[in-house]
Every structure is written in C-alpha cells, then in structure tokens.
C-alpha cells in the first residue's frame, strides 16, 4: 500500500491560558489514505479546528507525531511549514478569507506569489483556469465584495486549487451559506475528490453535508469517539 496522505500518532495539543492549561487534543491517532474524503464532526469546542490547523501545518502539536505524505512535519520550523502549506495544502475557510477590495483573479493567484519559478503571465493563466473550474471565469475581474457568499467561497476553492495541492482542508466551508449554495460547493468538492483524486478533509456541523464524505469521524473533548464509513448513518439523508 502507498504511504497514507495523513498519519497522526497520539497527537496532543495543550493551550496555556494564564495559569490554566486547556487540553484541546488528548491523544489522537488516525490515518487518511491518499484520495480519501473525510468529514470531522463533533460539538463546539471538541478540538476540530485545532486538529485541522495542525493537519494544515498552520500549527504544531504539543506532543505526538504527524506524517504528511510520509514526511515528519511536526518538527518543522515556521518557514518550512509555510513551504509545505504553499506546495501541498489548499485551505477553504468558513469565512472565505479573501483579500477585500481585490479582484477574484488576484485572490486566486495569491499562492503562486509565494512560489518561485512562475512568471506573472503563467500565474494569470493558472488562476483563470482554476476560476473556470469553479465556474467563475466571467467574474475574474470583480472585486470580492461585489460577489455573493457562494461565489466568494468558490473563489476560495479556486485559490486552494492553484498550486495543485494533494490535500484540501475545509473548516466548515458551508457554515455561512444557504442550503442550495452549500450543495453547489459540495458538488465541487465531490468532483475534485473523484476526478482529481485530491484528498479532502472537512469539518462540518451539518449531518447532510458530512454525508457527502465517504468517511466520517466524531470528536468529543479532544478525542475521536466514533468512525463511520460509506452511507452508514446517512440512511435518512435525502441523497
């Protein structure tokens, strides 16, 4: 079998707030194979975002091991982590996190600004192609604040796709969207996962959204308490 996309072993994360220590993660071990689509669920404060940040190389665990495509990244310094984020990971956030007063195109090409060997013409082409793949080519020159939430999230997906990452992480990507727009976004994710074989990890509170994923894990108090596969637990969902 090939190396798993993500392999974490006994991961803990402790936040120190003044005198007290907050145990956000209490020993998490899990493995995500390349090309999988995983949803993480659980009550608020259970440590989902904390886990996502570590998987996304935005943060480092307090203890434990994290192998990203076989590479031990939990010991990397800031700049090395930035490199990994740039080359291997695409992020999609609940609040879109686009640059305000900036065109869709400029937002989409942002990751390429920080990777060398690409000139501005190639950068534009790649950004336009990514916008096209999320159906927003005609909005390329619109400023982000002139776009709807769904459109903004699609630009964020285009941006996440730009460096052809092997892993896309989405923290509540549909949290700020209505049902119809959420479905559109999930269609895009499903397509990326099935056609391009991109590994997808998504946090969500909504069971119907979670059912787009082929695997679901449930967290509580910084631990994984349950795992579901396929349509298990989705029988009552409309799809």
């Amino acid at each position: 079998m090939s190396t798993p996309a993500i392999q974490i072993d006994d991961l803990t994360k402790v936040y120190k707030v003044g005198e007290t220590a907050v145990h956000a993660l209490r020993g998490i071990s899990y493995k995500v194979e390349s090309g999988e689509f995983l949803a993480i669920m659980g009550p608020s404060g259970s440590g989902k975002s904390t886990l996502m940040n570590i998987i996304g190389c935005l943060d480092r665990p307090t203890t434990g091991q994290y192998l990203l495509e076989g590479e031990e990244v939990s010991t990397f310094d800031r700049d090395k982590l930035a490199r990994i984020r740039n080359q291997k990971i695409g992020f999609v956030f609940q609040t879109f996190n686009l640059l305000p007063r900036t065109s869709a195109l400029e937002n989409a090409e942002l990751p390429l600004l920080y990777s060398s060997h690409i000139n501005s013409k190639q950068r534009r082409e790649l950004a336009l192609k990514a916008l096209e793949s999320v159906g927003l080519k005609d909005r390329a020159h619109h400023k982000t604040n002139q776009l709807s939430g769904g459109e903004q999230q699609r630009i964020a997906i285009a941006r996440a796709l730009l460096n052809s990452p092997s892993l896309i992480l989405a923290d509540e990507p549909t949290g700020n969207l209505d049902t119809k727009t959420s479905a559109e976004i999930m269609e895009i994710f499903t397509r990326l996962n099935e056609d391009k074989k991109i590994t997808l990890v998504m946090v969500t509170h909504e069971p119907d959204i979670a059912c787009y994923a082929k695997k679901r894990i449930y967290m509580r108090d910084g631990k994984i308490i349950r795992e579901e596969k396929g349509r298990e637990g989705c029988e009552d969902q409309a799809r």
Binding site: L58, R78, A82, Q87, N97, L98, Y114
Partner: protein, 408 residues
C-alpha cells in the same frame, strides 16, 4: 518573492488607500523639499560670497596693523597705529612681486548735495585704487598722484551714492559737501550690481587718503594698505616679500611679534565661505528635522496599516508566505512611500528654490541645487523608509498565522 513582484504588490496595496498614502508621503515630500531648498540657499550664498571675492581679484593682498597672533592682545598704546603712507610706497618700489599699492584711511560721514543728504562710507585711497581693486569707472576719471599729494578736495562716487544724491542728474563737476568741506565730483564708479544692505560696495565714495587724514579725521596713520600682486600666481611670493620688508622697516627683531599682518584675498574668501558653509549645515539640519517627522509619519501609518490588515497577513501566511515575505512586503510599502515621496520632494525642492530666488531677501544669492544635495536627500528619505518601516514590518511578520486568520 522577487523585488519586482514585491514592489508591485506594495504599489497595489498603497493604491488601495490613495489619499492616505499621499498624505503619508507628503511628510517626506515636504522634508526632502525643505532639505534641498535650504541647502540650495546655503550653497547659493556660498557661491555668491566666493564670486564676490573672486571679482575683487585673487591677486589682492592687505596689510593691516596689529599682529596675527591668536591671543590678540596688542602691547603698548596705539598698537593699531603703525602703518604709514611711506610703508605703501616702499612696498610698491621694493617688492618686485607687487604691482600697485593703495593706502587706505576711511571714515563715515553725511554727504550733502543741495537739499539731499546721504550717510555713507568715505574711503580714502591711493590713485591706483581702481587698478588694485579691479574696479572700473562709469563716468569721469579717478584722482591722480597730484590730487593725493595735495590732499585735493575731489571725490569719486559709488553708484548708489550718485543715485541718492543726483538721481538722473549729471554728477561730474558738481560740488558736494562732507563735514561742510566742499568736494568736487570727478568720477562715478560702475555699479557692482549688489543690492541690499549686506556688504554693499556701491554705497560708498572715495577721496584721496591724504584728504581723509588731513581734512576729515586728522589721523597720522593709515588704517591699511591694499596691494595687488603682479599676478595671482605670485600672490604668495608678494606676501613673503611684503612681510620681510615690513619687518625691516618696523625694526622687528627676529622672533618678536609682528606689528602688522598681511593677508591675501583667498584667505579672506575662505573664511567667508566657511561662515556660509556653517549656515548651509544649519539650514540643512533644521530641514532634516522635518524629514525625520515625515519618517515618523510613515511608521505611524504603517503600524495602523499592519493592524488593519492582520487578516490579510493571516491569509497570505496560510497560502504559504514566509515571515521573510511578509517582512519584505511591508518594508517595501514603507520604502515605496518614502522613495516616491523623496522623488516628488526633489522636484518640489528644486521648484521651491527657484521660487525662493524671486523673494527679495534671497535674491542676492543665486540658489543652486547641487546634485549632491539631491542624492543626499533621496538617500536619506530611502533610509528613513527602511528605518521607520522596519519595526511595523517585523511586527507583521511575527504574527501567528492562526491568530491572524481569526482576528476580527
């Protein structure tokens, strides 16, 4: 990220807030403009002084009483009254590097013509004064040795005096009164074209030095001797010859202090130029303060900008910007602001110094914008950008990506 890409990102960011960027740059514009125009005034003054001295002739020497010694206390009473007209004659005849001499004795007095009067400087000179001082006559003739010998009551007017007393009227042959003594005007000097009260050589008149001594002041000694060397190249030689001769004539023992001093024009010009140099430095430093204030303005705005854009910084970090990239981005913004400000400031400064030239009190000096002051102001403004931009930029680059992304 390479420099070109970084500056483009910086320009775009600054363009998003044009008014603020302009106001921030304005501090630098004014600072650089002030430095350049102030230094140009100083340089102009220096150039003006140098030109003025050069026009007096670089082969000019002066002998004056009193020693050169730095303690400057002169022994005996009347320590200053040591020069006699005979010294001048001796110098002219015995020093072969000397061409002409003109003894000098001067006073100030009221000059009256008809119902007009004018207070001016009355210079007693020898007959060779115009040659020594490199000064031409506009009308009439200068007085000759005969006039000097007889202490004749004749005078030559500076153009300003002529204008004040006679206006358009012809002055030659007219009688004017100085201390109730009638003087016949026999010549008028060509104007030196100097306006204003500062060292104005058109506001004076000359009479034979003997006339000043015998008729106006009653003094027995002359106050100095103006001397021209045969050429500029032989000025130093003339100075040595004069010193040797004077020591003999005044019976000064070897090692004893001289009771006279010989100075040449270039020495005097140097001293004056040094004084204006100090003025230039002073003006420049005062103007630099405004550049400093402009720099603080940049730092202030950059700090505000970093706080406003914490979210943006988080986004950039999330997609792979390293600390170095963020640092460079904000530093570049500060540098672009200050360099653009500096560039506009250079033109502003050049314009300002041109305008200052038309303002009366500065009109004497041609303001000259030197390339060195431009380069200096520009380099200074760029370093202001780097210096004051660094702290906010470092602050931005040290943000934690997650906290920056969550920042409301």
């Amino acid at each position: 990220m390479n420099i070109l890409r970084t500056s483009r990102v910086a320009l775009r960011a600054l363009g998003r807030n044009k008014m603020r960027s302009f106001l921030t740059a304005l501090g630098i514009i004014i600072g650089v403009g002030a430095v350049i125009s102030m230094v140009s005034i100083g340089e102009g003054a220096k150039r003006g002084v140098e030109d003025r001295f050069a026009s007096m002739g670089t082969n000019l020497l002066f002998v004056s009483p009193g020693s050169r010694s730095s303690h400057g206390v002169h022994s005996g009473s009347g320590g200053f009254n040591t020069l006699k007209p005979e010294d001048a004659t001796a110098i002219e005849t015995q020093c072969d590097a000397v061409k002409y001499t003109s003894p000098s004795a001067s006073t100030r007095a009221q000059v009256v013509y008809g119902n007009k009067n004018w207070s001016t400087s009355i210079q007693g000179t020898g007959a060779m004064y115009p040659e020594v001082r490199n000064w031409e006559l506009d009308q009439g003739t200068y007085f000759d040795e005969g006039h000097v010998r007889t202490a004749a009551k004749v005078c030559v007017l500076g153009s300003e005096v002529k204008k004040s007393l006679f206006e358009g009227e012809d002055a030659i042959g007219k009688i004017i009164r100085v201390k109730a003594i009638p003087f016949r005007v026999i010549g008028v000097f060509k104007s030196k074209g100097e306006s204003g009260g500062w060292f104005n050589r058109d506001d004076m008149m000359t009479v034979p030095y003997t006339t000043v001594m015998k008729r106006l002041t009653g003094q027995e000694y002359i106050s100095s001797i103006d001397i021209s060397a045969v050429s500029s190249a032989r000025t130093k030689e003339a100075q040595t010859q004069i010193e040797e001769l004077m020591r003999v004539r005044h019976k000064i023992a070897p090692g004893a202090e001289d009771d006279f001093q010989v100075r040449n024009m270039s020495e005097i010009a140097e001293g004056a130029a040094q004084a204006t140099q100090i003025m230039t430095i002073l003006l420049g430093s005062i103007a630099s303060i405004s550049l400093l204030v402009g720099g603080i303005g940049i730092m202030n705005i950059m700090l505000v900008s970093v706080t406003e854009r914490i979210r943006e910084i988080g986004i950039r970090m999330a997609v792979g910007a390293r600390q170095k990239d963020i640092l460079l981005q904000f530093l570049t913004e500060a540098i672009v602001l200050s360099v653009l400000g500096g560039l506009i400031g250079v033109f502003f400064g050049i314009g300002l110094s041109k305008i200052l030239h038309y303002i009366k009190i500065f009109s004497e000096f041609k303001t000259t914008v030197s390339p060195s002051s431009i380069i200096m102001a520009f380099a200074f403004s760029a370093s202001v950008g780097i210096f004051f931009g660094f702290y906010p930029a470092r602050k931005a680059s040290r943000l934690d990506p997650i906290e920056a992304l969550r920042y409301e």
